[in-house]
Amino acid sequence: MKRSETHERGETSLSRAELIERMVAILGAGGVVSERAQLRTYECDGLASHRVIPSLVLLPENVEQIEAVVRLCHQERIPFVARGSGTGLSGGALPVEDGMLIVTARMNRIVEVDIPNQRVVVEPGVTNLSVTTEVAPEGYYYAPDPSSQLVCSIGGNVAENSGGAHCLKYGFTTNHVTGLEVVLPDGGRVHLGGKTADPPGYDLMGAFVGSEGTLGIATLVTLRILRQPETVQTMLAAFSSPDEAGGAVSGIIAAGIIPAAVEMMDTLAIQAAEATVKAGYPLGAGAILIVELDGPAAEVEHQFREVEGICRSNGASELRIALDADERTRIWKGRKAAFAAMGRISPAYYVQDGVIPRTALPVVLRKISALATDHGLRVANVFHAGDGNLHPLVLYDDAAKGEAERAETVATEILRICIAQGGSITGEHGVGTDKKDDMPKMFTVDDLDTMQRLRCAFDPNGVCNPGKIFPTPRLCGEVPGPHRPHPLQTAGLAEIF
């Protein structure tokens, strides 16, 4: 071991060699990655523009090992970052230099399937799709369906509060998690929520979901599963412009219909998808909508006809209705492949994730288009139109001088447009490393400080995924306000409990 490396660590007195030894004692030799070449595999998540090589990568197999690892980190004040499958798009699982990266991939057991109570208990490394695969034979499914569901982990979903195309009707991860076992940043283990309704006390589970790995490591997750709907019907509608498609979306909502999903793609996105998967999308269309309704057959049939009418009256030139599961899969195939397909029409692209009120869709899309033209770039749009979650893909050529910077400018400007409309800088990808400096555009200093009070309760030393979400960390020691003895003490009640 090179001597110089021992100086790089924070406050710990352990040399890297000693640290490796301690970690191997906990995890076994196979559970500790320390070779630089191997460490590089973990230097970034899905946001490849940010890279940091961690000191060690740890591969625990059970909660006891996570506890032991985190306790050691706590004692030595070594920062650590949890990582699931590394598909995150905001640099949430970006390692900390001289820190530990704790990868949950080996904790991938489905611990319990409780069909009568509609609960499944899983370890954090279980992939999203495998939950549905497990319960499908019984007629159930796990609703949140991020496009990355084949690989992304439930632990990562919990941390990001991930969404998917079907969240319009069914909600996000946070609406489908009922209990968590968490190893806190000091190595202690707690149980938040549970299997039953309304557990008394603060909803710390609710606060943990979406906290992007900054409050601890989820080691067991209890999920709510849903009964498969009686019927699913899917249609593809082609319009001459995104404006028209947006009009149809508003019309559907105004009719009191809540579809399972409403997805929009514009011309560029359609072309890219067609070039890749040949989903049979109409190439000349200005925009397409994929509308899916599900539920009781009698209701779906009726509302589906209504949706057809709304699409037509908003100018739909072509309506294709999936007659069976194969046709439905084909319609979805293009949508699901859209991100990856961008490679066909552009050497590089930047995925943005902003949210606007649904009614602002037409004006925002026009503004984005004007913005792109101003900067001499193309922007493809593929997004969850039903809930106003935009995913503009800013296309650029990384070999062309200055284009990457211009693309970043456009992406940042898009967020400004979203905020000006009363929207959000992220609908599902999270703040992570990528957007922490955008947080002050949405929140005041007091807002951010108040959020960080929660962080201080969980992680007073700031060792758990530090440097994410917040532009400036709050010092947890300074507690504002006048001090006075806890009323329990004054009332002489403190000893009772």
């Binding site: 946070t174 309304d198 008394p200 009191g256 649904r358 809930d387 990808h429 703040v431 929140f443 807002d447």
Partner: protein, 419 residues
């Protein structure tokens, strides 16, 4: 300046007064009641309370004032009812923002005009939005729409030190920053004063059907529930009403468009076919019967418990409630949102020792859920923690409280573990 004068300097002469006997909360009489008219005034009041070392109880309409443990101290009741303005109803986005003192009733009346609703149906519709959130109040339709935590998308709060902060926003999908809305939901005014909220809305259903059937015993309740849950039906609510000996009625509510509601009601009636024929009610008749079933209040009873369990545990829990009631020489009236495993158990007596015995008995029964005392005479609440155990997360909850309200100004003693 006298204390009262200081309060009046903040909220105006008409909106601060000395407390009277009727303001007493679980045996503790506050000194003052103030009703601020703006977020700024809330903030100033809390700063004054902080520097005066007062304890503060935030209050709305007072429908849940009996909830929680008795406060360890109380000086100022901070009533939010004057913060009752609609901030924005964005119809096309199915989103509404309002101040926290607006009542659920007046919000619903406003939304009705647009054919929309906030899908929360707690018993007390005159409760304020802030009170609803703080108490995590819910009703039978939670089976379909979820509870406050599922519908709240943004919140504005004033912390004990006067800091005004918000989290979330006014779009339904948003993961920027921590979700403090969840943290404040059910926090019973112990972390801050809720002053504004944004909710996602739902379209008002066009029609409804009620499928109602009598059930003979706990096993029959369990069997009926199993059949409905296993089907692909989408009820809005599944309720049980049971008196004394668990002989009761199950009502399943379907809402939506005509053909959907009708078809589902037929299927459900078929599934419930047993010794007794289920009846199906339509439209207004359905709503009338539904109100009898779902709103006939166990809160008429002197003591109300909220017992939660897994749906599959329901028969055992119902039997246990009966047995315990017999042992404790009382009768019960059970109303339950059984699809969610939530039972409201009204007790016929309020004799302290009997009630304590009953609660202890139920808490000793090993099942997954909890037994919370919602309403009870203060003597009972002095003997037992109304919330029961919250498990190994209590120390963490204390730390959260210390961060948000380090001086323990807000509702001291009323929450879990006497937080």
């Amino acid at each position: 300046m006298t204390r009262l004068a200081e309060l009046r300097a903040i909220v105006g002469n008409d909106h601060a007064r000395t407390a009277v006997a009727g303001d007493t909360l679980d045996g503790v009489r506050p000194r003052f009641v103030a009703t601020p008219g703006s977020v700024g005034e809330v903030s100033e009041l809390l700063r004054l309370a902080g520097s005066s070392r007062w304890s503060v109880a935030p209050a709305g309409s007072g429908t849940k004032r009996g909830w929680g443990n008795p406060p360890t101290s109380l000086d100022l009741v901070l009533n939010t009812r004057r913060l009752d303005r609609m901030i924005e109803h964005s119809e096309g986005d199915l989103v509404v923002s309002a101040e926290a003192g607006m009542t659920l009733d007046s919000l619903q009346t406003h939304l009705e005009g647009a054919g929309q609703m906030l899908a929360l149906d707690p018993e007390d519709t005159d409760s304020t939005l802030g009170g609803l959130i703080a108490a995590n109040a819910s009703g039978p339709r939670r089976f379909r729409y979820g509870t406050v935590r599922d519908l709240l998308i943004g919140i504005t709060i004033v912390l004990a030190d006067g800091t005004v902060a918000k989290s979330g926003g006014k779009v339904v999908k948003n993961v920027a920053g921590y979700d403090l809305g969840k943290l404040f939901t059910g926090s019973l005014g112990t972390l801050g004063v809720i002053v504004g909220a944004t909710f996602r809305l739902h379209p008002r259903p066009a029609t409804s059907r009620l499928v109602k059937t009598d059930v003979g015993d706990a096993e029959a309740v369990g069997a009926a529930l199993r059949r409905i849950l296993r089907s692909s039906l989408v009820p809005s609510a599944i309720n049980l009403l049971a008196d004394k000996d668990t002989i009761g009625q199950i009502g399943i509510l379907f809402e939506g468009i005509e053909p959907g509601a009708e078809a589902q009601a037929k299927t459900a009636a078929g599934l419930l076919q047993g010794d007794r024929d289920p009846s199906v009610f339509r439209g207004e008749a359905a709503m009338e019967r539904w109100r009898d079933l779902a709103e006939s209040s166990p809160e008429d009873a002197p003591v109300t418990l909220k017992v939660t369990c897994l749906p599959a545990e329901l028969p055992d829990v119902l039997k246990r409630v009966n047995e315990a009631a017999k042992r404790c020489r009382m009768t019960t009236r059970v109303r339950g949102q059984i699809g969610n495993g939530v039972l409201l158990v009204g007790l016929s007596v309020d004799e302290t020792s009997q009630v304590v015995e009953m609660v202890t008995d139920l808490r000793n029964f090993a099942h997954e859920g909890s037994v919370v005392v919602l309403e009870a005479p203060v003597e009972v609440k002095r003997r037992i923690d109304t919330w029961g155990s919250v498990g190994d997360a209590l120390p963490l909850m204390r730390k959260v409280k210390e961060q948000f309200d380090p001086a323990g100004v807000l509702n001291p003693g009323r929450f879990v573990g006497r937080i």
